[in-house]
Symmetry: C2
Subunit: 113 residues, 2 copies
DNA sequence: CTTATATATTCTTTTTAAGGAATATAGTGC
DNA sequence: GCACTATATTCCTTAAAAAGAATATATAAG
């Protein structure tokens, strides 16, 4: 029950949903997500932690930065199913389409000087 | 996007999830739900309103009382899919199994004097 | 019309979550 | 070792959600 409600709560925040939708297109480090969403860095880290605890994203260190990507869903069946549904859900949402376009033009080398 | 996060938020509360799981077995009036969950009546009404706004439940007046039942999911695709998933999800959760057993012994005539 | 009952709503208080500033940690390169 | 950068964490403030008490609405029965 706790696993289930944690997954639901994680996805009840618009910024966290946006992170999931961006990660469907490429894995991103914190500063890329920060730039895409225009949020302060600590905010992004906290959102990512909530998503990670819910089994929705995973991370991998790469030197100085940390790459976040969608989880494979092996932690909970709820995360797995929701990630599956979200693969098509919200694709037509104007907020999402605009964001995804933006993501492709982000270049880590320009952002993290 | 708002429809989606509203559905997620509605299901991020344990009591509301329990309501959904009970309604899978029979439609219930407010005082039955109140008895099953041991919650004050205004609390139950407020939870039901949140579920209703999220498109997860619907209500039907029957004289003095109001019967709540699972929605047909026509309001949003998110509600429809989540209700589908919840048909099997959490069936093994001890909190849920205990509750569902209890529900079958509830008798509206005894509760709403 | 009065009384009683089921439900909804309002208002206030308490709890919980989000936002922001500051600081801490951990790598990298010199 | 020191300086620099990316990320995480802590602490404090603010906003939002939940809990609770009281009241309002609506319907039924006498």
């Amino acid at each position: 029950m706790k696993d289930f409600t944690a997954a639901m709560k994680a996805l009840s925040d618009q910024n966290r949903v946006k992170i999931i939708k961006m990660l469907q297109h490429k894995s991103m480090c914190v500063c890329e997500i920060k730039a895409a969403l225009n949020l302060p860095q600590p905010s992004v880290s906290k959102h990512l932690k909530i998503l990670e605890k819910a089994g929705l994203v995973s991370s991998q260190k790469d030197g100085l930065w940390v790459n976040y990507h969608l989880s494979d869903g092996s932690r909970t069946p709820y995360a797995a199913t929701l990630l599956g549904n979200l693969r098509h859900w919200l694709d037509d949402d104007p907020e999402i389409t605009g964001l995804v376009e933006k993501v492709f033009f982000l270049n880590r080398k320009d952002l993290c000087k």
